[in-house]
Amino acid sequence: MEETRKSLLRLDAVTKVFVTDEVETHALAGIHMDLKAGEYVSISGPSGCGKSTLLAILGLLDSPSHGSYVLGERPVQGLKHSERARIRNREIGFIFQAFNLIGDLTVYENVELPLTYRGMPGAERKKRVMEALEKVGMVHRVKHYPSQLSGGQQQRVAVARALGGDPLILLADEPTGNLDSANGEAVMDLLRELHRNGSTICMVTHDPRYAKHADRTIHLFDGRIVQETVEAA
């Protein structure tokens, strides 16, 4: 069953080298990775192992130094800035550790923001925003500003923002990192619920408790995949 699923993204021999003051730092070295549609993968490893760099490349915020990256069915490693922005907007949903909501915008406006970059009509935007907020249980807070919400609520709004665009994949970077355990559990439950409903999720976490929520865990060390663990169903 697993084998018949379509590949959603594939990295082949991806490396990332940062050069500062003539010192080369190999953040990623020869990463091969394949993610199927509907899969829930976690990436874990110690600090500095390359988790966030990998996620930035997956999210087209950064480009690999070498190797290929195919998202959907097209190679994306050499795209122009504007095309990458378009793909980020339509095919990728981000969930950040620090929520990264914009303080001057209301909950509604924060969720609506990526849709405005698509030039989507107002009525369609509204429908999508309300659906997304309903999924995360935040409809009652549409007019609130982020500073008026708890950390857990802010992260739910961030998840709604990621969902609103109906992306191919959700990329979550330590989504529980800034939350207490109760709120952390709640967010993880939310992700699990989304996954059950068909979302593809790739999550970076260093917390083994949360990594276990995923179907599969990729372990990184010094920029290399050192182990892959498939969780028991």
Partner: protein
């Protein structure tokens, strides 16, 4: 306090870039203020260099139907002096020129004939010898002279034995009785190049005359008498004179004005405008610095929060921050003072004319820095320090305290920043609109048709006073010969003579009579300016003959008297006639009953500018120099101005012209040699100066305002870096971010433009007196400057906006 200063110095050294920008901004603004204040202080504020100058008044004849006050007749002056009780002393003065001979080279000197009482009025003692005495006003005893310090140095080598010696003026021996101190200049307006003073001695006929107004009267108010009281008394005297001598005094009043007002009245508004302009520049600089300090305070919030946590009171912290801004202001003020020391001579160079004393800035030679200027700079610096430092200091302390409680004051800070940018744009718009109005006004001035062609004409005055050619036929022969020789010079196209060169020389006016026209009512008269010229004058000047002919060599003594009139004369006195219709009409100088002969009009010329560039020409009659009648009316001239049209650059002809004069008589001085281009440049000298400076200041203001907007948006971009990263992660294109930042500049810009337009609409009316041919609310200016300023703002906003659009989202997301 010392500790605050020490910490302040350290803080300034820690941010050298910020300190340099702040000091440079302040130096430019305070330097400009200091330089302009130096001029304002010297010209408007510093008392005239006479004893109790506020008690000195100028009395002139005033036509009650309007117009500027003018000179007075000898008999009226005598009555004013006899009948008035408000003044301790009253003195008359009259312009006088003389040729100094007997020592090489002969020189044409400017001087004044003055009543002896002038010196007690001025209360200035001579540096050497004595001043004039009353008995020396008697004809025959009047050949004594008081010299200026400059003339004494220049022509007598500063020799103390000069006092008591004689000098030949206009061929007569005058005894030098005194030398005035170096700082003494009189008069401070009108004839500012006077270098010697001789007694005003009238023969009985002239003393009794109520015509030939040529005197300007100065008087010292008695202690406790105000100008208002003096005016009331002089009005009553004028009314008595009107009853007693209706022919000369009907409709005439007496203008009584403080000397200082008379001297600076024409430039007061312009200097006030310039001072206001640099004041606005300083305010813009303050707003800029306040913004810079606000930005810096945001970066120091943690430091200030730590200080608060350690127990520092708010007052203590505000004092510390204010000390830093005061230090900055003093540094900027010091640098500004240096700039002003360097810039003031440059200003003086701008103010200098080619020789047109009439158009020069009054008290030009007195312009210098003094203690008051230094005090002004110090006060401006400290005030500036408080002005730009106080709000950011209060804000920094308040926001640090708020932050320590866990919330943010960024929104309030943003509003303050935007308000400052709005203020900057409002002030910049006001200044730019003022400057553009002045530019358009100056452009209109330059487009004025003077009635002659300025290029390639040289003019120089040749004085015959006191020479063998001083009188009648000898003089005519001399000038005939001179013209012939000059015309033969290589490169000369034509040459002619005129008694007073337009825009540079004097303007003589007279009562005129027109044949067939009814006698004017008592107190009214037909008047016209008159100028004496030789054939080819209009060709040489590039004037335009509208009808008839120019004078010819045949228009001499034996021929019927002829005259040429200008267009203004035609319009005033023959309004229904065409230029051709006027030919053959007869006019004469003086009343119709006077013995002067009638002259037939043989030509009508287009108006040629007379005394002032921006003033329409009065009716004017041109008479032929080679015909005698005008000599009898106005007296044989002591000098004539040679005008020469050259094929190319006329300056090169000056030496040849001097050579030709010297070859005729080496004792004939040639003076005031200038091209018509220089004469015209002098005539529009003051508007050009005001326009230039106002422009300079407005561009400085625009630059600072743009820098202010740039600074605010740069800060905002830095502060919102993470937000831009988030937006990009969510799929924002670079253009989305660019637009977002650009849009942020719109509200402060629009508020600034609205406020600036309103202020400009109200305040540019103050410029009305300085504008020519442009309304203070000129729609073109008000319509074009705001879009221009918007474009400048867009450019200033585009730079940080572009930076924002180029950020690396990964790095931005890592920002704290």
């Amino acid at each position: 306090m010392w500790n605050d200063i020490r910490i302040g110095i350290r803080a300034l050294l820690r941010y050298p870039g910020f300190t340099a920008v702040a000091v440079l901004t302040l130096a430019l603004a305070i330097g400009a203020n200091t330089a302009i204040f130096t001029v304002v202080n010297s010209v408007l504020l510093r008392p005239l260099r006479y004893q109790e100058p506020e008690r000195i008044a100028v009395l002139l004849d005033q036509n009650l139907r309007g117009g500027d006050p003018g000179p007075v007749s000898p008999a009226n002056f005598a009555d004013w002096r006899k009948q008035s009780q408000s003044f301790e002393h009253m003195a008359a003065t009259e312009m006088w020129g003389a040729t100094l001979t007997g020592q090489d080279p002969a020189e044409s000197l400017n001087g004044l004939r003055v009543s002896a009482s002038l010196f007690p009025i001025l209360g200035v003692n001579p540096a050497l010898g004595r001043v004039l005495r009353e008995e020396e006003e008697e004809p025959g005893r009047h050949r004594v002279v008081v010299l200026s310090h400059g003339l004494w140095q220049r022509r007598f080598g500063g020799d103390a034995a000069t006092v008591g010696a004689t000098m030949r003026l206009n061929g007569e021996a005058y005894t030098v009785v005194g030398v005035m101190p170096p700082e003494f200049h009189f008069p401070p307006f009108w004839a500012t190049q006077a270098e010697m003073w001789v007694p005003l001695a009238f023969d009985p006929e002239r003393a009794a005359s109520r015509g030939g107004n040529s005197l300007r009267v100065f008087a010292r108010l008695k202690a406790g008498v105000s100008l208002r009281q003096a005016r009331a008394e002089m009005t009553a005297i004028a009314q008595r004179l009107e009853r007693a001598y209706p022919d000369a005094n009907t409709g005439r009043g007496i203008s009584v004005e403080g000397l200082h007002d008379k001297v600076v009245g024409n430039v007061r508004r312009a200097l006030q405008v310039l001072l206001a302009a640099v004041g606005l520049v300083l305010l813009i600089a303050c707003a800029n610095l306040a913004n810079l300090l606000l930005s810096r305070a945001a970066g120091r919030r943690k430091e200030i929060a730590v200080r608060i946590a350690l127990g520092a009171s708010r007052i203590r912290l505000v004092r510390q921050l204010l000390t830093e801004s005061a230090l900055l202001a003093l540094l900027g003020g010091g640098a500004g003072l240096l700039l002003a020391v360097w810039g003031t001579p440059a200003l003086l160079a701008l103010l200098a004319t080619h020789g047109g004393a009439r158009t020069a800035m009054p008290r030009l030679q007195e312009i210098s820095m003094d203690g008051r200027v230094l005090l002004f700079t110090l006060a401006a610096s400290l005030l500036t320090g408080v002005l730009f430092g106080l709000a950011p200091a209060l804000h920094a302390v308040r926001s640090a305290a708020v932050q320590s409680r866990g919330t943010s004051a960024d929104r309030r800070s943003g509003r303050l920043r935007n308000a400052l940018v709005s203020a900057e744009f409002a002030l910049a718009l006001l200044l730019l609109i003022s400057a553009v109005l002045m530019i358009r006004s100056f452009h209109r001035l330059q487009q004025v048709d003077p009635g002659f062609r300025v290029e390639n004409v040289l003019a120089a005055q040749v004085s015959v006073r006191g020479s063998a050619f001083a009188e009648g036929p000898a003089q005519m022969n001399l000038f005939r010969q001179l013209l012939a020789r000059v015309e033969a010079l290589p490169g000369v196209r034509s040459a002619a003579l005129v008694n007073h060169l337009p825009l540079a020389g004097d303007l003589w006016g007279a009562t005129v009579s027109i044949e067939g026209r009814p006698e004017p009512a008592p107190g009214e008269r037909l008047a016209a300016a008159y100028r004496v010229i030789t054939p080819d004058y209009f060709r040489t000047m590039g004037g335009t003959l509208l009808s008839g002919r120019d004078f010819t060599q045949a228009d001499t003594d034996g021929a019927p008297p002829v005259a040429i009139v200008n267009e203004a004369m035609l319009r005033r006195y023959w309004p229904s006639l065409t230029p051709s219709d006027v030919l053959g009409k007869r006019v004469k100088l003086g009343a119709s009953g006077s013995p002067n002969p009638w002259s037939s009009v043989v030509g009508v010329v287009k108006n040629i500018k007379q005394m002032q560039w921006a003033v329409e020409a009065y009716p004017e009659i041109y008479l032929s120099y080679f015909q005698q009648p005008w000599h009898e009316f106005g007296g044989t001239p002591g000098y004539m101005t040679v005008v020469v049209r050259a094929a190319a650059r006329p300056e090169n002809l000056a030496a040849a012209l001097r050579g030709e004069v010297a070859s005729l008589d080496r004792n004939l001085p040639v003076s005031e040699a200038a091209t018509l281009e220089q004469v015209v440049a002098d005539a529009v000298h003051q508007p050009r100066f005001h326009t230039l400076l106002l422009n300079l200041f407005s561009w400085l203001a625009v630059g600072l305002a743009a820098l202010g907007l740039y600074g605010v948006l740069s800060f905002a971009v830095t502060a919102r870096l993470k937000e831009f990263g988030i937006r990009m992660a969510l799929g924002a294109q670079r253009a989305n971010v660019l637009r977002l930042v650009m849009r942020q500049s719109i509200p402060p810009l629009l508020i600034g433009l609205a406020a600036g337009l309103t202020a400009a609409f109200v305040l540019t009316r103050l410029l009305s007196g300085l504008l020519y041919g442009v309304e203070a609310t000129d729609p073109w200016t008000f319509g074009s400057v705001p879009p221009f300023l918007t474009a400048v703002a867009a450019l200033a906003a585009w730079i940080p906006a572009r930076r924002a659009s180029k950020i690396d989202p990964v790095r931005a997301l890592q920002e704290e």
